[in-house]
């Protein structure tokens, strides 16, 4: 038995109520590690072709990584996986908090649900038991109330850790997520709707088993070094300086290789909202449903969304399990959010400049509403921006919107609209399944205003600014995610320092070089995909990985935990194996990766006529062949070859 794993998974059939513990063969861990790798293997085997994502055949999995609970830092991330009802592709969402160790402390590396329960249930598990219990009383409660009620119902010695859905998931909104710890969301891919369709209200885990580690003191020694790096924080400049730095990046024709330490400092000081103004200024944050520029949301306007504005009601930093950084924050007394989590960058941008909304109070309020309802704030914001553009062009009118004036930046209407989306009332019902579905319902050519990749709303990182994002938005087995790769991420991961074959980016380069399509770009993208798969299999946080591979010793931690040293190349191969299984999963579900479309605007078609990304367009198609080849897949179609599948025993 490899150390760091429990070697078991819990399999729950909700239709029959049968629960069993299964032993996972050792070779699975060898090839796919734990976490998303283990989950990909399980779902590939158990979800049949053409399964209805909201039907009983779909499997919903919760998986913890190989490093979680071993004493390594940044290892508190867990994954929710399933076939996405939003895209029909491989669906995955990642979340922090304290749920990841809780899965392993019950003695499992993953928990998988199939079937549909005849009535609402929740799973309770601890060291010795795992049982489904009636959740009729919990159905209809928001996520915060559900957690509070479940904690009160289980006053045992160990406090339970809970993942649940809110009303959005119950109503099977296709942009619903899974909520944990009062407002941390595994938001993407609409997996909350899968949980709602299965009538699984919550998973409550109260285990306290120990996770075996080969060399715990070795792991802790490495952790101490990481902690020292993270704690070392220079006195910091004001948020305004970050905004001017963004402006400088926009104006200069050259760019510099970015070191993740800078990013770490911003995260440690303000969290992700530290990037707000900077991103708008440099052209990373899309404005006005991706058609605007910083001219439409100038520095004066964006100063109302400055980092300081978002930190004013903060009462403490929020740390996920085993995190030395603490990029989250708890707020008290904010408008509409008496006690909750501070909005993150993605939320602030999706509900802010994307809809031309500069009212931070409304963003606090909508953030809290979405967190409690369990709805993805990226998708919700993007869908509202879509609706606003439709309204502007007269495709929907006041008669359709139940009297709401959906002009750009009308924050009061946005708050009302989100409430309707959560309740699925009137116009809210039309929009509650994301922009692609809404465009189908509205028709009349509204599809051109829906900014998505394969059905999933695009996140708040402009692929025209960093074309590295475009490839991942388009061809990842889970399309439209910003947590996989880009040129910026590649620079920060610094993988070439450990793996000689990988290209070393220049210290200074002309910005327009980013838009060249060459083999090097495809190799960098493939390395990002592989590495992030490995992180998700190990349970490591992306922000931790931004420190660079020399400062965040993921490979050495894995060596120390398992007691079996492996080379960095072998670890990246594990990431590649996971990518192949996820790709094979999509093919089995009838998804052709070449058909997944990123909306034209996000690729600069036509290019913008002004702003930071003026004249930029991204020829993502030209990179596909080289990208597919990196994984040993068919160049033309992206289908994993017999050999690639044979190599990983599928």
């Amino acid at each position: 038995m490899g150390l760091g794993y429990t070697g078991k998974i819990l399999v729950v059939d909700l239709t029959t109520g049968r629960i069993r513990s299964e032993t996972v063969p050792e070779w699975i861990y060898e090839q796919f590690l734990s976490g998303v790798g283990l989950a990909a293997w399980y779902l590939y085997r158990h979800i049949p072709t053409d399964a209805d994502p909201l039907g009983p055949e779909n499997v919903l999995g919760f998986a913890a990584g190989a490093l979680t609970g071993t004493g390594s830092l940044f290892s508190g991330r867990w994954m929710v996986v399933g076939k996405s009802p939003l895209t029909g592709c491989w669906g995955e969402a990642n979340c922090g908090g304290t749920f990841a160790p809780a899965i392993k402390q019950c003695g499992y590396d993953g928990i998988f649900f199939s079937g549909i329960s005849p009535h609402p249930v929740y799973l309770f598990a601890d060291n010795n038991t795992a049982e489904l219990r009636d959740a009729t009383d919990l159905w209809g409660l928001d996520a915060g109330a559900t957690e509070a009620r479940l904690c009160a119902m289980h006053p045992g010695r160990k406090r339970p850790r809970i993942a649940c859905i809110g009303p959005a998931g119950e109503r099977q909104s296709l942009i619903a997520g899974v909520v944990h710890d009062g407002g941390r969301l595994a938001a993407r891919a609409g997996l909350g709707a899968v949980m709602g369709a299965k009538r699984l209200k919550a998973v409550a885990l109260a285990g306290s088993q120990r996770i075996k580690v080969h060399d715990r003191s070795g792991v802790l020694r490495l952790s101490r070094e990481v902690s020292a790096t993270v704690q070392n924080q220079p006195p910091f400049v004001s948020g305004k300086v970050a905004a001017y730095l963004g402006r400088l990046i926009r104006v200069l024709p050259t760019q510099m290789e970015t070191d993740g330490l800078l990013y770490k400092m911003i995260l440690r000081k303000w969290g992700t909202v530290g990037m707000n103004q900077m991103s708008i200024e440099m052209g990373d944050a899309p404005v006005q449903n991706w058609r605007g520029t910083h001219h439409d949301f100038d520095l004066d306007t964006s100063s109302r969304l400055a980092p300081e504005v978002f930190t004013r009601p903060v009462v403490a930093k929020y740390f996920c399990y085993s995190c030395p950084l603490g990029c989250g924050a708890l707020v008290e007394g904010a408008p509409g959010a008496p006690r909750g989590h501070r909005p993150e960058y993605e939320t602030a941008m999706a509900l802010g400049p994307l809809c031309l909304n500069a009212d931070s109070d409304s963003i606090f309020q909508m953030n809290e509403m979405l967190n409690r309802a369990g709805m993805d704030s990226i998708s919700a914001g993007a869908t509202i921006a879509f609706a606003m553009e439709c309204y502007e062009h007269g495709l929907i009118t006041r008669a359709d919107t139940d009297g709401l004036d959906l002009s750009w930046g009308n924050s009061a209407a946005m708050v009302a609209l989100i409430d309707k989306m959560i309740r699925r009332e009137g116009i809210g019902d039309l929009l509650a399944d994301g922009s692609r579905m809404a465009a189908r319902r509205i028709g009349a050519g509204s599809g051109r205003f829906a900014m998505h990749a394969g059905g999933q709303e695009l996140p708040m990182h402009d692929s025209r600014f960093d074309p590295g994002f475009a490839l991942h938005y388009a061809v990842e087995p889970a399309p439209g995610r910003h947590t996989v790769g880009s040129f910026l991420y590649y620079e920060m991961f610094q993988l070439w320092r450990e793996i000689e074959d990988l290209p070393d980016p220049s210290r200074f380069y002309l910005k327009r070089r980013k838009y060249d399509t060459d083999l090097e770009k495809a190799r960098m993208a493939a390395a990002c995909s592989q590495f992030v798969n490995l992180l998700n299999a190990a349970g490591i946080c992306l922000f931790g990985a931004f420190l660079g591979i020399r400062r965040l010793p993921v490979f050495q931690w894995l060596d120390a935990v398992s007691g079996r040293p492996r080379s960095p190349e072998v670890y990246l191969q594990i990431g590649a194996n996971i990518q192949t299984v996820r790709q094979a999963f999509n093919f089995r579900q009838g998804i052709d990766p070449l058909v997944i479309r990123v909306s034209d605007r996000a690729l600069g078609r036509p290019p913008q006529s002004r702003g930071a990304n003026e004249g930029r367009s991204v020829a993502v198609e030209k990179l596909l062949k080289d990208y597919f080849r990196q994984f040993g897949w068919d160049e033309g179609t992206g289908r994993p070859t017999e050999k690639a599948l044979g190599d990983i025993n599928l």
């Binding site: 609970g69 004493g71 830092l73 304290t98 160790p101 809780a102 402390q105 601890d126 060291n127 010795n128 010695r157 160990k158 406090r159 306290s208 088993q209 120990r210 715990r216 802790l220 952790s223 101490r224 902690s227 704690q231 000081k269 303000w270 930190t311 903060v314 009462v315 403490a316 930093k317 740390f319 399990y321 085993s322 995190c323 030395p324 603490g326 924050a329 708890l330 008290e332």
Partner: protein, 161 residues
């Protein structure tokens, strides 16, 4: 590996009561038994057993520590703690918690011994702490040792809660 109960057991049931994971079975005044797959090796049974009838996984007899309030407990150095909450999750009886928010973005909630009466002295928190902020010592040791890194008065503050 797990703890075991020898035939010195008098069937008092104290171990069964203190075991955080319900790994011990047995009727009053009958020999008790530890279910090996459930045991998490916290050693609480060994510390509480009045007959010293518990052996650790290496086969050594566990020494009884009379009076539970004298058992070692975590002393957390607030200056060293980084607030990562690993210890809180490691604790099998949830006796650790986070301190109150300080009211600003720079406020880091540190680990505190919230429910000292629940502590079973397993030392999992100290073993897992990545920055060595936790030291196991009897309750009175913190006040007795002036060189202690923990700020004076911290354990009493947690006791008040």
């Amino acid at each position: 590996m797990a703890y075991t109960i020898t035939d010195l057991c008098i069937g008092c049931g104290l171990c069964k009561m203190v075991c955080p994971v319900d790994a011990i079975t047995g009727k009053p005044r009958k020999d008790h038994l530890i279910v090996p797959v459930r045991c998490i090796e916290c050693g609480a049974c060994g510390r509480i057993c009045p007959a010293e009838a518990v052996k650790d996984p290496e086969g050594k007899v566990c020494r009884r520590v009379r009076f539970r309030h004298r058992w070692e407990r975590p002393h957390i150095s607030e200056a060293v703690c980084i607030g990562c909450a690993i210890c809180i999750q490691s604790c099998p009886v949830s006796c650790l918690g986070l301190s109150e928010p300080g009211g600003s973005i720079d406020s880091v909630r540190k680990a505190v011994l919230q429910f000292p009466e629940h502590c079973i002295a397993c030392a999992f928190c100290a073993a897992d702490c990545p920055v060595d902020a936790i030291r196991m010592a009897p309750p009175e040791a913190a006040e007795a040792a002036p060189t202690d890194a923990a700020p004076p008065g911290e354990p009493p503050r947690s006791d008040e809660k």
